[in-house]
Amino acid sequence: MTETPLLGSALPDTAGGEAANSLLAGARIGVVTFPGSLDDRDAARAVRIAGGTAVELWHADTGAEALRGVDAVIIPGGFSYGDYLRAGAISRFAPLMQEIVRAAGSASAANLLPVLGICNGFQILTESHLLPGSMLKNDHLKFICRDQKLRVENNSTWWTSDYAAGQEITVPLKNQDGQYIADEKTLDALEAEGRVVFRYVGLNPNGSRRDIAGISNATGNVVGLMPHPEHAVEAGYGPESASGRSSGTDGLGFFTSVLSKLVGGTK
């Protein structure tokens, strides 16, 4: 995937210089495209801005090679299959999803594929049973788009290790079916196991149970959330922040977290 950077060079200068940059670029993060995906290019761009290499993945590709040897996968936002049946319900049965479910959920524990599902990606992960619960239509019934404050409740997952525990971040939120729901027993288990990764702060935008914005699986390699970190990675195109208009880049930590872990050789 090539594209013209919007702001000169998309890659920031990092403190480690060339060597660190080339190390990061060796980490390959796959971004899945379904019919109706919307934010796949944004997610790929976020990976590149964080210093990694973004790899296009196609929903209909079959077999283990469909994953193209990537080190991690992002399932982006959008309206795959037009949200027909239920959001994410048809994407779940895509051939590529079978490979992702196998690599993320049932491979040996030492070699689990890190997967991040954003918005529709989160919905696909719940439909795939990689994450528990489901999403209902927002309790107020309207599509909502706002800069949303979140608290990072768990910074030990593959996708949150560059944040401090309890850190508050602001990233865009935009959805119609964002009300997270699960039975009380499941919610209690998620809380007890530290698997509530993000909680809405200030305002619960959709009626989600216990203000849950994002969760992880038991091993912390699979994370899903409704808000969009990939839209908060580049000054000039992010949420409002204290440092200026549209200058929020709080979402970048998702992508640097997984890259740091991959490069750190902990996988």
């Binding site: 049946l85 239920r86 319900a89 049965f93 719940t126 439909e127 528990p132 619960g133 489901s134 209902l136 239509k137 927002n138 309790d139 019934l141 009300q179 729901i181 699960a182 039975d183």
Partner: protein, 83 residues
């Protein structure tokens, strides 16, 4: 050709946001006799030929595994309708 009808409803304990919106709108048209609405889905699966027990079983499995999400919905009816 015969069809298999599958009806799916939101679980009783789940507040149905769409049903809530509908019940709020009914009185605006003068329909004042209804205290609640729940909105579900009806699927019609057309079968080429006879509905064998195996095909009916396939429909039941499809209803549980794909047409509904057991976290939020129940399959409330699977029946054969002959034309």
């Amino acid at each position: 050709m015969p069809r298999i009808v599958v009806d799916v409803m939101p679980k009783p304990e789940i507040l149905d946001p769409q049903g809530k919106a509908i019940v709020a709108a009914l009185p605006r048209l003068g329909f004042t006799g209804f205290s609640s609405v729940r909105q579900g889905k009806r699927f019609e699966l057309t079968v080429d030929g006879d509905v064998t027990p195996e095909i009916l079983q396939q429909a039941r499995e499809a209803a549980e595994k794909m047409l509904s999400n057991p976290v939020i919905e129940d399959v409330v009816n699977v029946e054969v309708v002959a034309d």
